[in-house]
């Protein structure tokens, strides 16, 4: 059977030659072969599904004025020719309503790249996966517990990319996800505790997360939450757990630095951004402690935003979005980078083969600070510790946000005290990040994964990584979810 790489080379030659003959300014082809598995247990009920897809996405630029994209899962030569013609036809039509495209240059890459995997999840027997998840949900079984759920997911992706400039790139990308949720009903209504992590790699993530080992603790938590008090509305210092900081970075930094939003291409759905080009290098986005990087390289960690090359053949890079609190950089594509005076894309175009690549987050991470986590708690006289997200919402320019978390604790005179349910905080993005006065150090830093970032029309779902450690924010508006 022909390999994905060889098939990709064969199909790319047909498509790129045809596009060239038809005077395309630029063309690219991706052949993507994906194998996925999801195994779930809800209470005692099992479900598993394995999915395999293979298909080609072809993107064409015509006359430097219009883009066209078409995809197919029929891989015969004639289908590839027809799909290329469709993309060309759309590009020609779009060129009548387009503007002149100037694309940042990118070196020609002929390369291969592979996600490091320690334990191949597809070699682990299904029975073993079920035993692990059933063990997890069994340990959650208690009076007042109304829902127990454990899940693991795995993706193995072979991706061949070639463009009309001569790049030929073959990547194998592997991702894993593991989660558990327990919900209980008591005097305060329904409460939830969960654990979730998604990362690059394989079954080693399942071993590391040890859901059965954590099941008892989150079950104890959720039962306590059904009897825990809420918090009064007011202003307070807060310390957020690392996973909550990760989502805060995703929503209030990752999205507003997407340059397509800034330029208005997402105005109808995902929205625009408060971070305008004239603020580059000037706006004090956060306090001096805040450093946020956009880093798709493996040196940053094996995250959901780690790869060798993006989906328009740009090599993975590391750049700052926020340096010492100052806003300094965007997530860009080859087409948008010149619009803010940049000479090179930083490699953020991502999509499944059957979707048009758009600017997406890679690993957008808050760099670790200098504080030992325990010392940060001890240094806090009066405040709340808030742990693990429950709900999140932010306006279309990414200013006004509200996050509620699953559980919290009162911090009094440097000690963690009483548990509280549904602690919620809200604010305006630059004010919030400027109130950050402490970030925990490398010992507490984790590269978290967000597997469900939505953007684009029709909707696209993307996986993104966010490194973060627990952080403290001063004088924030807080209240209880109930």
């Amino acid at each position: 059977m022909i390999s994905t790489k060889d098939l990709g080379e064969e199909l790319a030659k047909i498509s790129l030659d045809l596009a060239k003959r038809d005077n395309a300014t630029y063309a690219e082809l991706r052949l993507v072969n994906t194998r996925s598995e999801a195994v779930t247990v809800v209470n005692e009920n099992p479900a598993s599904e394995e999915t395999g897809t293979i298909g080609v996405g072809i993107r064409v630029l015509y006359n430097n004025l219009g883009w066209g994209f078409a995809d197919t899962d029929e891989l015969e030569h004639e289908s590839i020719r027809e799909t290329t013609k469709k993309a060309l036809s759309l590009a020609k039509g779009a060129s009548k309503l387009g503007i002149r495209v100037t694309r940042a240059s990118e070196p020609v890459h002929v390369d291969k790249w592979e996600t490091p995997v320690k334990k191949d999840p597809f070699r682990v027997p299904t029975e073993t996966k079920y035993e692990y998840l059933q063990d997890t949900t069994k340990r959650m079984k208690e009076n007042d517990v109304v829902a127990r759920r454990g899940q693991m997911t795995f993706d193995y992706i072979e991706k061949y990319f070639a463009n009309s400039e001569g790049s030929k790139i073959f990547q194998t990308l592997s991702y894993a996800g593991v989660s558990a949720i327990v919900a209980a009903k008591g005097p305060t209504g329904v409460q939830r505790r969960s654990i979730q992590q998604n990362a690059g790699g394989g079954y080693e993530l399942v071993d590391e997360m040890d859901l059965p080992g954590q099941a008892l603790e989150i079950t104890k938590d959720v039962l306590a939450l059904t009897r825990a008090p809420t918090i009064n509305e007011g202003k307070s210092d807060i310390i957020l757990s690392g996973d909550q900081v990760a989502l805060q970075v995703h929503e209030s930094c990752g999205h507003p630095i997407e340059l397509d939003r800034v330029l208005g291409y997402e105005a109808n759905f995902a929205g625009r951004s408060f971070l305008q080009p004239d603020q580059l290098g000037k706006l004090q986005y956060g306090s001096e402690h805040v450093n946020i990087v956009m880093d798709a390289t493996l040196d940053h960690g094996n995250g959901l935003g780690t790869f060798g090359y993006d989906d328009e053949g740009v090599k993975a890079q590391r750049k700052y979005a926020v340096k010492n609190g100052k806003f300094v950089g965007y997530l860009m594509s080859r087409e948008t980078a010149p619009r803010v005076g940049e000479t090179r894309s930083n490699g953020c175009m991502r999509a499944e083969y059957y979707k048009l690549p758009i600017i997406r987050m890679t690993n957008v991470s808050l760099e670790p600070g200098t504080w030992d986590y325990d010392e940060m708690i001890e240094d806090t006289r009066d405040g709340y510790l808030m742990v693990t997200n429950y709900g999140w919402s932010i306006d279309q320019k990414r200013y006004n946000f509200q996050f509620n978390t699953e559980k919290g604790y009162r911090i009094k005179n440097g000690s963690i005290g009483e548990m509280v349910r549904g602690p919620t905080y809200a604010g305006i993005t630059p004010e919030f990040w400027n109130s950050c006065d402490a970030i925990a150090n490398k010992k507490s830093w984790v590269l978290w994964g967000t597997p469900n970032c939505g953007k684009g029309q029709p909707g696209q779902t993307m996986i993104t990584g966010h490194g973060a450690s627990p952080s403290r924010f001063r004088n924030i508006r807080v209240f209880g979810a109930s």
Binding site: A47, G66, K86, A147, I181, D260, G391, Q457
Partner: protein, 466 residues
């Protein structure tokens, strides 16, 4: 750019039978089910007054379920040559063999009778990209004339589903649809107007009306006044809801799992568990699951091929019924209503065709505004998420035009507001409704028909800087 959205339902049916013959021969004595889905999507997306993204997508997906000795496995593939199909079935057999027994396993259902639904529009299927580009070009021209930027998407989809199983069941569905979503804005989105129209038949689309609505709202929504948060009476445009009303049917507390099914209710997982017969909404509000409503979409059968029934979930504010399935019939003696997801499904039943309606005569949006003494007109909600499941309190923002109304007239635009609002409370304080329309949300595949409303005491809690 002259291409049709080609679709060949007859050949797909034949293809499904060929595949099924292969699947049966590989499955041997095991039960087997196939679901073959073919889709064609064409979306023209524009921003900054440019046609920036033109996309044409075709896909075929084969999902195979194999069951043996109360164990089940499901494997899905996009590769439909004979060898790949055989491998897919073999994998499903292996997966079933390696799975634990499913306590809810039932033999696959036999032949069913279906009410027909007519959701296939030749006009939509045949609509060339030029037609859509022409509508978009007109919107862009109008925006340019008014010194605004147009952005949005106009897309069409065609779907054909074939389902067969070894108990003799055969189900098929074909449908088409699309939507035109348009924003006109200026000043980095500080001045915006939004309009949306959904359709099954593209002939029903009035692109000029969409453009004019977005334009009028954008022109009105300039130099927004400051406003203090608090409780306001509101008129909500029927297209404003986005994903908000989805939270009637799913809960974040249990990991975004469905609420209105019998299994979740009986197991205590639903926020409504124990509340059958209770009045939870105003007595002028009812919610059905009705796939047969003329404005609805999707197939008249569920994930195991059983016919869907109309279910009156909430009648005049009282929680009356639940979506059910053969599993709930077996477990609890419930009447199966055809709301199963593809099996194995540990989450429970899911009503996907909600219709939210008011009692009595409906009013136009203009009439609703005319009846508002003092309050806010909401033209779009955004980024709605659950805060608290029992009261169905959700938070989110307004966007693209929030207007102060006095004495039945729009007076001026105000800045965008954040709300924290119980849906149960909101729909207990509705004074009047408009005819439900099919909304569209990028985030979910629910097909909810939702009305515009005039309601009291909507709880806004903070204000955005724009």
């Amino acid at each position: 750019m002259s291409q049709k959205m080609e679709h060949q339902p007859v050949s797909l049916r034949e293809r499904a039978h060929q595949i099924f013959t292969t699947a049966k021969s590989v499955a041997g004595k095991a039960e087997a089910e196939i679901i073959l889905v073919s889709r064609v999507d064409e979306y023209l997306r524009f921003g900054n007054n440019e046609l920036a993204q033109s996309q044409y997508s075709t896909s075929r997906n084969l999902s195979v379920r194999v069951a043996s000795e109360k164990k089940q496995g499901r494997v899905t593939t996009g590769t439909l040559d004979k060898a790949s199909i055989e491998k897919t079935v073999e994998k499903a057999i292996s997966q079933a063999h390696n799975s634990p027994e499913d306590p809810d396993y039932l033999p696959m259902p036999g032949p069913q009778k279906y009410h027909t639904v007519d959701r296939y529009s030749e006009k939509t299927v045949e609509a060339p990209a030029e037609l859509k580009a022409g509508y978009i070009g007109s919107a862009i021209d109008l925006a340019k004339k008014n010194r605004l930027l147009a952005s949005g998407v106009l897309g069409t989809s065609v779907e054909h589903v074939m389902m067969l199983n070894t108990s003799g069941l055969e189900a098929s569905y074909r449908g088409s649809g699309g939507y035109f979503s348009l924003t006109m804005d200026a000043d980095n989105g500080n001045q915006t107007g939004y309009a949306l129209s959904t359709f099954g038949d593209i002939g029903e689309l009035d692109p000029n009306k969409v453009s004019q609505t977005a334009l009028e709202r954008a022109k009105l929504n300039k130099s927004q006044a400051e406003i203090a948060p608090g409780k306001f009476d509101v008129v909500v445009d029927p297209y404003a809801w986005s994903e908000m009303l989805l939270f009637f049917a799913v809960s974040a507390s249990t990991g975004y799992s469905p609420d209105l099914g019998m299994r979740q209710y009986k197991e205590g997982r639903s926020y409504l568990s124990g509340r059958l017969g209770e009045k939870i909404l105003g007595d002028n509000i009812s919610i059905d699951d009705d796939v047969y409503h003329p404005s609805q979409a999707g197939p008249p059968f569920d994930g195991e091929g059983c016919q869907k029934s109309k279910v009156s979930l909430i009648e005049n504010g009282v929680f009356r019924n639940l979506a059910s399935s053969r599993i709930s019939q077996h477990r609890y003696g419930a009447v199966a209503t055809g709301h199963e997801l593809p099996l194995p499904n540990p989450l429970g039943e899911l009503p996907t065709n909600l219709v939210i309606r008011g009692r009595g005569a409906t009013k136009t949006s203009e009439e609703l505004i005319g009846e508002l003494d003092k309050g806010l007109l909401i033209t779009r909600f955004w980024y709605v998420r659950e805060v608290e499941p029992q009261t169905k309190t959700v938070t989110g923002m307004t966007r693209d035009g929030t207007f102060l109304v006095e004495n039945g007239e729009i007076k001026r635009p105000v800045k965008n507001l954040r709300f924290n609002q119980s849906l149960l409370e909101l729909f207990s304080k509705v004074d009047a409704v408009s005819e439900p329309v099919r909304n569209f949300s990028e985030f979910q595949q629910f097909r909810i028909l939702q009305p515009g409303i005039l309601a009291r005491d909507f709880n806004f809690t903070s204000v955005s800087p724009f």
